[in-house]
């Protein structure tokens, strides 16, 4: 079982990381999620996005989350790479990948990891638009998503 959990302080090559992860294991199936900074047009266009974090807790929290997923699903590999710092449209923010013999394990573990990275990890997001920087509020949907996983220890 490969577990590769990283906090990235600079831009990373998501395609390369996913390929490397895929080659390192004999999974029947690999599910991945890649989150990117969107390039929206208009007045509210996001020019830049910053993720602040709280260093003493961030990576250890991500590692605990990975352990929860490994205990609950049967995986051949698990990858989490999460950016912090200032990003621009098109930049990767987060890459999660889960390999498993059975695809349902891979789908569910990847979904679980994303829901928790979004709403339980120690990141705070702010966006820069033409009106300057502003902090992004937590989304109700993100909190709702978490309730789907009450059965996972």
């Amino acid at each position: 079982m490969i577990s590769d959990v990283r906090l990235a302080h600079a831009d990373f090559d998501a395609a390369h990381e996913l390929q490397r992860f895929t080659l390192r294991q004999d999974a029947g199936g690999i599910v991945s999620f890649l989150g990117k900074v969107r390039a929206e047009g208009g007045d509210d266009a996001v020019l830049a996005l910053e993720l602040r974090h709280y260093a003493p807790l961030t990576l250890s929290g991500m590692e605990m989350l990975a352990l929860r997923a490994q205990r609950h699903w049967t995986l051949t590999g698990l990858l989490i790479i999460h950016r912090e710092g200032v990003m621009h449209p098109g930049d990767p923010i987060v890459l999660v990948a889960c390999g498993a013999r059975h695809r349902r394990d891979a789908f569910e573990a990847c979904d679980f990891l994303m829901d928790h990275l979004k709403s339980e990890s120690w990141f705070w997001k702010r966006e820069k638009t033409a009106h300057g920087w502003h902090w992004v509020d937590p989304r109700d949907q993100d909190r709702k998503d978490l309730s789907r996983w009450a059965h996972v220890a």
Partner: protein, 81 residues
């Protein structure tokens, strides 16, 4: 050496800075620290959904004191990924 307060997320805007240093004569409780701050900031830090970390570990609202050399971080609801 002084007591360092860290403000994450929106709390940074309320505090007007990402961190603040307090010189304290002796270790203080959370409410004693709040008394030393602007009322608006003190109220924001006391919200039920703000977690507190002392020197990198999450702590509850009571049962501890923070003095010179300590770092106290205020963590509002996250909005990551």
């Amino acid at each position: 050496m002084s007591l360092t307060l860290l403000f994450l997320g929106k709390l940074e805007d309320v505090a007007g800075a990402p961190s603040l240093s307090l010189d304290v004569a002796q270790p203080l409780s959370l409410s004693e620290i709040a008394e030393r701050l602007e009322p608006r900031l003190a109220v924001a830090l006391s919200a039920a959904n703000v977690r507190v970390a002392l020197n990198g570990s999450l702590v509850g609202a009571g049962g501890w004191a923070a003095g010179n050399g300590d770092e106290l971080a205020f963590l509002p609801p996250v909005s990551g990924g």
